[in-house]
Symmetry: D2
């Protein structure tokens, strides 16, 4: 309730600031008996960590996870899993000049308005570094979902004006391109575009798409806890996301019902949909086809060109941001989208266990 906890049963609580001693997450409610190693979590953190290419900040963080509790003899025990990542590359000096003014597009002003003051070093709690905790927790959700054949895959759909060509979609390159694009050509073009942005002291936005395959029908609840409602919240809670689409999303408003409805058909003894405009969710509940969502990400607000702003004394001023900043948020946010989606699906999977009497009878043997 206090704002740093996500999920109802499979629950993560993140903590930590950009320039504090450490960041971390407590995962509570992970079912007991799941095989889990720190290495599996580290793989996800490595995808998020900075300093991996020309188009990410050159701040160097090992982002090494320390597993502190909740695992015994290689398995989850059902008790809280605490993970910590030490901050090692804080250069607070870079932030001295912005302690007293409000960076446009950042949360500096609103933090001051809410709390009376703020940890201004690197954005404090509102830094993108906060997502390290989400990724560590999300990696465990991903592991849990694997047990049930559920796979979550996110990738970059566009950066600035450069979109992938769906005909060239190659999932095998998502983790190798610096952009996170599943299309080598588009990725190269996006890199060129970003180089341009950087030369102009400017930054770019983009779109991330996420596909969740293997979700059984029945996850999500009919009214406020619709699966798409929770996915939207999860994705919109990632800093810089300004729009979320489910399935065909923004295209539905100009369609007619006959174009947008997905017909049902029987196939191999199962109910399937012959199209998937809905993106795998009907009435807030998963329908066993792939869940598809997209996040629209704004350009990095930290740009090196001069900007108008005000200081805490209430004076107009001009600000030129220094320091180390990604020219685009999208590539490093891909794994965050993946993790937030996985956390949402894992939570729905657990909640759904008690949705009908038959489920409970399977467990309690009546």
């Amino acid at each position: 309730m206090a704002g740093s906890t996500y999920g109802k049963i499979f629950q993560i609580s993140t903590w930590g600031e950009s320039h504090g001693a450490a960041l971390g997450v407590v995962v509570d409610g992970c079912p007991a008996g799941l095989l889990l190693s720190a290495d599996e979590i580290q793989v996800y953190l490595d995808r998020r960590k900075p300093g991996q290419s020309k188009i990410t900040t050159n701040r160097r963080e090992a982002d090494q996870v320390e597993l502190l509790s909740g695992i015994f003899e290689g398995r989850t025990t059902g008790t809280p899993i605490s993970m910590m990542i030490r901050n090692t590359s804080q250069r607070s000096a870079d932030y001295g000049e912005i302690a007293n003014c409000y960076r446009p597009g950042h949360a500096d002003y609103t933090f001051d308005a809410k709390y009376g003051f703020r940890d201004y070093r690197g954005g404090g709690r509102s830094s993108g570094r906060e997502t390290a905790g989400r990724v560590a927790g999300g990696a465990i959700a991903v592991r849990l979902l694997q047990e049930f054949g559920i796979r979550v895959t996110a990738y970059t759909l566009s950066i600035g004006p450069v979109k992938i060509d769906r005909d060239k979609f190659d999932p095998s390159v998502i983790l190798t391109t610096p952009t996170g694009m599943p299309d080598l050509d588009a990725s190269a073009m996006a890199e060129a575009y970003l180089a341009d942005c950087m030369r102009n002291y400017d930054s770019a936005g983009g779109i991330i798409e996420c596909v969740i395959e293997g979700v059984p029908a029945g996850l999500g609840d009919p009214v406020f806890e619709k699966l798409d409602a929770n996915l939207s919240k999860a994705i919109m809670s990632i800093g810089a996301v300004k729009a979320v689409e489910i399935g065909d999303g923004i295209e539905v408003s100009v369609r007619q019902g006959s174009q947008n409805n997905d017909p049902f058909r029987m196939k191999d003894g199962k109910v399937i949909k012959t199209t998937n405009h809905a993106g795998g969710i009907l009435g807030g509940i998963s329908d066993a086809s792939s869940i598809i969502l997209r996040a629209h990400v704004k350009p990095t607000p930290s740009i090196f060109s001069a900007q108008q702003t005000v200081n805490r004394q209430g004076e107009d001023m001009e600000l030129s941001i220094k320091g180390r900043h990604d020219p685009v948020i999208v590539p490093r946010a891909v794994v965050v989208v993946e993790c937030m989606a996985a956390l949402t699906i894992a939570d729905a999977l657990l909640l759904n266990a008690s949705a009908k009497l038959d489920n409970l009878k399977k467990i309690y043997g009546r």
Copy 2:
């Protein structure tokens, strides 16, 4: 937690099915001392109720609210406010033929998958009628926000291909046009478009925009409980919404940082933004400029033309839906968007009361 409750402190719990005895809502956590009458709530229900024009279903429901608790001598007492609306126009016979099959675009299949069976009469709990409870509860949130000078206004931005002309924006006609558009010309064109859809046994989608003015800076929390994250969940939890945008939304992905950042300036001793691409929220916290969001609504899935589907016995079949259905969901959903937004802001307003020590000292007098 069980799925029919929304909000953390200002909380609504809705109940009821399309063709049950009644629908209702319990509002818990409304502060004591608010002047409130049943008439003020009825005004909002009347905006949602069916049978008001050619472009809404001709099902006739009085949708008369009964206030059962929580008010004493015209003021809220701080205890739960229970409200009930009797169903009066159930014609279950219309739904007999669909008891056994799954309507495309509806929740019939997913309900069966989740719960093992369903109340098939009019969609049961997944009917749009469920939103009556949200509107009754939301009307109280609107009343509370008025005390703090906060105004929530939603309207139709487009129906199918017909968009309003922002230069002709006239808020005074929102409640008078059958489309909910703030532009008489566009509204007339949209009506013509809908008449076309109906002739073709088809339906239309559209976009709803919502503006929230007068919100103080500081509402919302920095991480998972970002104000935009909660607004997204609230809006996406309305059936048929497939995408949500905050501020400039989907446009940000092709912008550069220098175009998208909103400069700060001092004006009359206050910090203001000279543009509002962000839509009133920075880092998940309100910045005192107008909050702007848009909901993309799919076309009504109940269409009269023949559709492919399957029945509960696992056989392919063809379905022609009968009964009474809106050719477009948008106009009646406008007030639902307004109410879900108001509920979200009211909850954030209450939660923020304990965000800093100074606030508490104002209350407890230290």
Copy 3:
């Protein structure tokens, strides 16, 4: 969160005041597929309703439950079950004189302190009538537990100085004695004691015991959500309860470990405890032996003899309460204890469904 909701998955939200139009409850999270009739709920409400003997208030309320949603073709649908009980015997005139002063032992003063004013008619929301909603909801929890062989039985252990003789324990008379005692002789003595109290314009307290049989091992969580912690909250939330014991309760403080530990032994291939000092819960988790708890209930604060108090104008005064009041709360609270216990166990049963991977694999078939 707003205070009128109990439970995490199996959740009830109650509403209503003593002298309002109606009282009720919304049950959300009850698994789909449970056979349930209004008659089964009415049986529990009838046990709580007033006017049934000399030792309960002569206020006459039918307390007839109306089932408004969530049931279809005799089974729960998994959606909220709304129930309402109309108030029919409000004689507000009786309360006119106490509108302006604070009855000792009641919540009048604290309501005014918290909310600024109060619905003074019959105690408003703090009336014992509020428990009608708990009982209607609890009756459904009882029904659910039956499916798993779990039985909840509460009874009166003592009224004032009159205790039952455990050697004469006869569960068959619990529902027939006006005291709720499982001992006819003790019940007769308690009735005589109460007659004395009434003659002296005074009232009595007592103790309620509750036994829950058939609970599988494993319910409850290790730290804050211990099963005994939740039972304590549930029972202490019943007005007039001032102490809660689990198992041997207050006797443990003078014992030594060797006397208090319950030895484990194998019996018929199962782990059993040869004694049950712990009352069926170890480390906050059920151990499959009977869960035992006791509630200590204060004497009815509404007494007819003169009492010292103050009025809202801040003047000392003397008050003689009139109206209709039970001389003892215990007999009518027995069913409330039973229902709160059932709700707590039902919620733990549902939550435990996702505690280990094996449980989930039974449901999702991997």
Copy 4:
């Protein structure tokens, strides 16, 4: 919801096992602007830590707290405060022999029943060491309450048959006696009694009392979130507590209303009660007199004499526990009771901020 989180707004999430790498707590929802140092927290942890006298286990733990986030320039920032305590004295070898059997009075059996296996080293998550996180979090709640003149004081009322003499009550010795008793003579007698218990390879129980002074009237909510209900849960969630009393507690059942009601009177322009049988809470809401509660604590289940039990293979066996164990839990639990009470009051203080419109107008200036 997942069981390791306590509180609604002022919220703690604890993690860690007895013999893992570390234990800790995340405090979320603490208002911004509170002056706070690690030293203030360490004082509370030092009161709980082992190895301080003959009557506590001779396990030596520094229990040094590391403050990892949420503090900036000496003040809380409103973001999560993460604290960690490294385990330094794990001697897992001591526990090898109990890996395979169930210690009577412990959670070994129920953990296996719930999760399928357990971290058997030192009780894992069910160890009393888990309370270190509660104490670190509770120390912050204590600091917050100080700002509002609220003081929480707990002490030992009895150990085994030895009770304090209320006429000799001396709060200044609570922190100096090894028993936590506010009575030097009783404490000496209790030490002698404990020496006896230890000689007999046995252990003792006792009672802890807690007094909370300076609580403003109005905290707590009328129905399920009664202040006494939440205090009961908080206290009963401490391992080994088997009964909780509020105010006169178990004595009320034999009283008559005229003896138990607390008369109101005016004093210095304020409403006061001339007695305090109720223990500071009426109808679940604080009445501004002192809140009083008592926890009944069972004898330490780890005793060195032989006990009957079973092993995981389902065989009867005899067990003699070795290792380092407190002969009585009470003295070290005193500070835990104090902290759980402080956390509960702090949360109620924050929640009450939005209970009435007037409070909100003080904050938002309308």
